[in-house]
Amino acid sequence: MATNYPQNMSELFGKLNDLKAVFVYGQKIIPVIQSLIDFMKDTVPLLENINRSIEESTHKIPSAKAQLNNISSATELATNEILDIVDEVSNKLSEAEATLEGITAWEQERKNKLEKLKSLVKDETALGLIDELFNNSVSEKLITIKDIIDKVNEYNYQITLSLQVQDITSQQLAAVNHLIESVQYKLTALITDLEDAELKELEKSYNEKEIVFDEKAEYSHEKEEQKIADNLFKVQSSKTTQDEIDKLFSETK
């Protein structure tokens, strides 16, 4: 044992040095751990805040969805009210047109009678009066009124066509609603401690929801797509092969 003494001591000093190194390293690392703890202390309220915000936002989503649906319904109602008025204007214009036709026929009859009268009368003064009555016609004014009625009819129809915007915007709103639903699903999954099966059920019901809108719907009269559709249908009607249709597709892409 005496012979091993120096070696044992040397080993002991070696171990002590290792221990010292650990303490030195520990001294160095303690501030890092401290700053990590401080960071965690700061982060926890922040995370709680985020969690609260997510929870609040998730609860607000159903009312946002309902509001969008209300906008869609209100717009459809208003559009139909406008269409009712447009129909009413159209009916009134038809009545005005019929009345105008009556007046035009009456005016023509008046002229015919004056012509007849002219052939029967020989007195110069009377003939002058008949001519005056004949020339004092409302025919031109009636034509002007007819033109105005036609123009109002045209404008009325243009209003009808412009109301297609309601269908297009309602599809856009439905697309936004669907997007909100997807966010709601993700957020609910984040904040709710759901069993796997429950979460899968939620996901299934979201995915199975029928999509009856076109998210790319847009109100524009400059439709390049209509030209593409026209070309495709032209190609189809000339008994073109699928390869040729595919080629047309790759060219227009």
């Binding site: 129809y157 790319k216 559709a229």
Partner: protein
């Protein structure tokens, strides 16, 4: 040829607009359906219908499904079908083409386009 249209659209606004446009073009006879399923029932119950104008995006049964159902039925397989939709993506147009719609209009349509397409379809039947 006397034409009786079946206007299929889930939007009441669009049904009215298409209906008004048809009247404006001189076609007085048309009936309406709210989706593909309703349209099939109308076709069964009204033998005078000889032209279908349908939207694509509808609940219950879409316009594309309706087209496929019509084309696969013995009774109505030759029915002229005009699709009026917002879907302008080329792949969608091709899908409609493959389902054998007779022509395709992208909303919003103009009266000229509607007239032109109806006449084109009628010329081929």
């Amino acid at each position: 040829m006397s034409v009786k249209f079946l206007v299929v659209d889930d939007s009441a606004t669009m049904r009215r607009i298409v209906g008004n446009s048809l009247k404006n073009l001189g076609y007085q006879s048309f009936v309406e359906a709210v989706d593909g399923k309703d349209a099939l029932q109308k076709l069964q119950s009204d033998p005078e219908i000889n032209f279908v104008i349908t939207d694509w995006n509808m609940p219950v049964m879409s316009g594309l499904e309706l087209t496929k159902a019509i084309r696969s039925s013995e009774q109505f397989s030759d029915m002229p079908i005009l699709m009026v939709t917002t879907r302008g993506v080329k792949e969608d147009i091709l899908q409609a083409l493959q389902a054998k719609v007779n022509n395709y209009i992208i909303k919003p349509f103009t009266p000229q386009i509607l007239k032109e397409k109806i006449e084109q379809v009628l010329a081929t039947v």
